[in-house]
Symmetry: C2
Subunit: 525 residues, 2 copies
């Protein structure tokens, strides 16, 4: 008689969402990606889970000591902040100087080559870790419940599989491109490939562009990703295993995205949207900053920052921007490193760091000049602040394209930005009410969710702990070949059968026809 009661108790405990403190192994990506991974780690810690972070020995941001996690310092990631920052500056300068297409392509190639080398180096070091039996034994013995990783680099995926642990992704980009494209059907006809600057409504020519772009992104995978990952995976996981399989078998994809940001598109049951999980109500500003903000009076404040990667802009751009700001009645708070522009107005405050969330949530804030990183975009949506965009690289152009398509942003090209067009864009966003109104609508849609994004993320991480995965939510379709997945073999078979029937029919008709015809001929003769 006790059995059903016991089972009922287990069911009850599960339904109460209780989990004893779990053990999470985190394989983060450095830089801006770490900023949002840290949000998840801090929340997991506050819920009583024990977190271990594998940090690269050359990390920019990931500290070895933290009240929120233990860390294990592993090999260098090969990611050099200095080199990268200077690369961005070089690219901006080139774009401004109207460099030849060839120069720009070679620069793009250089970037791709850098990523290639970074992945190559990481995999070499991961191989050494795999062969370090003491270390691997330690990781095994630690008995983690799951690996939480950002699959923009494949280290966490590979390590998770090596340790036989469930995988949870904190994801927007993967080594194969945008996250959805790796597991959800993405019809070319209404799912734009990132970088195309297309919406979900396309003309014939746009759909053509979308497909051509798709093949272009495949080239990158064939020439950059596969040569690195395929031999590694074959060596450590078996000859018939492909990285895609390991990667697509992740239990939960916590997607840094939602449909106030992304165009509507097919999704999968194990994709959980957590866009805005890092957003929170603003806290009061420092006395100094608050005074500055209040001094703007009815005109309000403009906030400008270009993210973690680029604090310094080329001087000619900063001069143009500063002189544009100087012409406005608003106050401006600008995150800026480097030389103070000579054209800077009295209304502009330069800071080396600014409390972005608190400023965006301030009722006096009227516009946000940003580079288009996902974190900033989501904070702008959360707080309902319209945008002026200066996208620099990576997904920034694409992110801003989405904001522009929704009518909540003006976007400028870093190659052609000057005082006049910058001022024009700012004035539009400040004084044409549609930008603010549409952003408020977007913000209210984004905030109107049955659960908070961060709680949702926590729920599903703990779900994976409770059930040792989320197998019922993920398809095994990735185990099929492309030919099987798209039913090309069945179509070919059906085509062959129909052709055969047709040929037999035609032959029979011919045969009969000849017999009848010949007979009548014979008779005639």
């Amino acid at each position: 008689m006790q059995q059903p009661t016991l089972v009922a108790l287990v069911v009850l405990l599960c339904s109460l969402h209780l989990v004893d403190g779990g053990k999470v192994l985190v394989c983060p990506v450095d830089g801006s990606h770490w900023i949002n991974m840290k949000v998840l780690i801090e929340e997991l810690h506050s819920r009583g889970h024990e977190i271990t972070v594998l940090r690269p020995s050359d990390s920019w941001y990931i500290k070895a000591e933290s009240p929120y996690y233990k860390s294990i310092t592993i090999f260098p990631s090969g990611f050099d902040e200095e080199q990268f920052g200077s690369f961005v500056i070089r690219m901006m300068n080139m774009r401004r100087q109207g460099a030849s297409l060839w120069t720009r392509i070679s620069l793009e190639y250089e970037l791709v080559e850098q990523f290639y080398q970074m992945n190559k180096q990481s995999l070499e070091m991961l191989g050494k870790l795999f062969e370090n039996t003491t270390m691997m034994q330690r990781l095994h013995d630690d008995k983690y419940d799951l690996v939480l990783t950002d699959p923009a680099i494949g280290i966490g995926v590979l390590l998770g599989h090596r340790l036989g642990l469930p995988l949870v992704f904190n994801v927007r980009w993967t080594i194969q491109g945008e996250g959805h494209h790796a597991i959800a059907p993405s019809p070319f006809s209404y799912v734009p490939i990132p970088g195309t600057e297309l919406t979900d409504k396309m003309t014939f020519l746009q759909r053509l562009k979308n497909i051509l772009y798709f093949f272009f992104t495949r080239l990158q995978i064939w020439y950059v990703t596969d040569p690195n990952y395929t031999p590694f995976v074959q060596r450590y996981f078996g000859n018939d295993v492909h990285y895609m399989e390991l990667f697509q078998s992740a239990d939960i994809w916590l997607m840094r995205n939602d449909f106030t940001f992304e165009f509507p598109r097919p999704t999968m049951p194990n994709i959980i949207y957590m866009s805005g999980f890092q957003c929170k109500p603003s806290k009061p500003l420092s006395k100094e900053l608050e005074d500055f903000v209040q001094s703007s009076g009815e005109h309000g404040v403009i906030v400008m920052t270009l993210g973690t990667l680029v604090a310094k802009l080329p001087e000619d751009i900063t001069e143009e921007i500063a002189s544009a700001f100087a012409q406005l009645p608003q106050k401006v708070i600008w995150r800026h490193k480097g030389k103070r522009p000579s054209t800077l107005g009295n209304n502009t405050l330069l800071l080396e760091w600014l409390p972005q969330n608190d400023l965006l949530g301030h009722p006096k804030t009227r516009a946000f000049v940003a580079h288009g990183g996902t974190n900033g975009m989501q904070e702008a949506i959360y707080h309902g602040v319209p945008l002026v965009g200066l996208p620099l690289m990576f997904d920034q152009q694409d992110n801003f394209f989405r904001m522009k398509a929704r009518g909540v942003a003006k976007v400028l090209d870093i190659a052609t930005v000057n005082k006049d067009n910058f001022l024009e864009a700012l004035k539009a966003v400040l004084y044409e009410p549609t930008y603010r109104e549409k952003m408020k609508t977007l913000s209210s849609l984004h905030r109107d969710q049955p659960t908070k994004p961060l709680d949702r993320a926590m729920f599903w991480i703990e779900f994976v702990m409770r059930h040792k995965g989320a197998k019922h939510l993920r398809t095994d379709s990735y185990k099929m070949s492309m030919i099987q997945y798209h039913s090309i073999d069945v179509a070919a078979f059906l085509f062959a059968v129909i052709s055969l029937v047709f040929i037999v029919f035609i032959s029979a008709v011919k045969f009969l026809w000849r017999r009848v015809f010949c007979r009548s001929k014979v008779k005639k003769e």
Copy 2:
């Protein structure tokens, strides 16, 4: 200065999920479908919304008077319970007598014809309603916030569009087949077509079967649905409008399904899974019933019911079933109308109606003998009771196939069921622990969700009220033709271009070859 504060207040109100009592127009489907629509209506009512139900004049279940809703009685649905029940009995008898394939096909055809006639009649009457300006004006003047409908029949979809109101679906089946197939990509290679009894993992031959079945279901649409709906839609909505467009533009699809029941598959952002929304903890049984249940001692109880449609089984089957039950030490509670089987044991209690949810949630309940209606399946999962299946028609076979694939049910064929195989199936489910264990696991997965299914359904209905739709969650892909959707035009264009390039290249080579060749020939000569 007041504007931002006002906007902030609006955002705050939205984020608090407050809605003044809204007005909902409900277009239900009668019979078992009404049972679950009623759950939504009662919950909407308890949240302060005003509900108006359009009820058919010949309704089985939908009462004109209710504390939960106002009703407007419209035309008859043409759905005759008596006729339908007797049809099911005829079909069962035929299957038991091993009727010829031809007889069975003609019976299936008769069923399809019945649906055709039912749809035809409904649309005729709906046309009359559309032309009744007084009535239509009244519906307009009532200023509903949305239409909540079950798209198993198209009346609600058409009326919603006629009134220009947002649509929310309470859906599993549509007039075009299973709900997902109408809006989410459904690759043939891992999404089984209902009726195929295939899982999400298929061999080549199974994938072939799946595709052939797909074309078969299309035939039904071409010959049954389209001839009814196309002329109607063209008449009232314009010549270039197709029913599919009206239907696919629904804002929210509340799906009576989830992935403890359905195989994992692609989904869409506006599909909200609410499987189990009708389930609730069991209430105490009546004194009489509780005494009977307790008298089962350690053996526990078996519950049997075959749903709303078939309370009476052919006598030969009831005799077999009764004699099987009689051999078991368990107590049995059997919902049964009609003649008392002569073989009935003392352990079996016949009831004309039974409190299904309360019995399934009773700790003494060991097994559930069911026909495979979605409601019953979901209650069994919710309470974690393993199943013995006697599927009769519609989706019942398919539902049980899913339960069987998960190892939580034994399924019998009504054509061949007899005392021995019924007893064998019952004993397996009662005494082999895997059935119960797997069902408990499924139940714990089903219950472990961030929000309760019914709350989730309410949230999204109220979301549509607050935002007058959920446009950002639905694609407009349905506006494309099949050729555009599948990029066939782009593929054809690319093929033509590649062919042209190839032809020009070959021609050029030929031309050059001939010139060189001819020259050397001329020279030789």
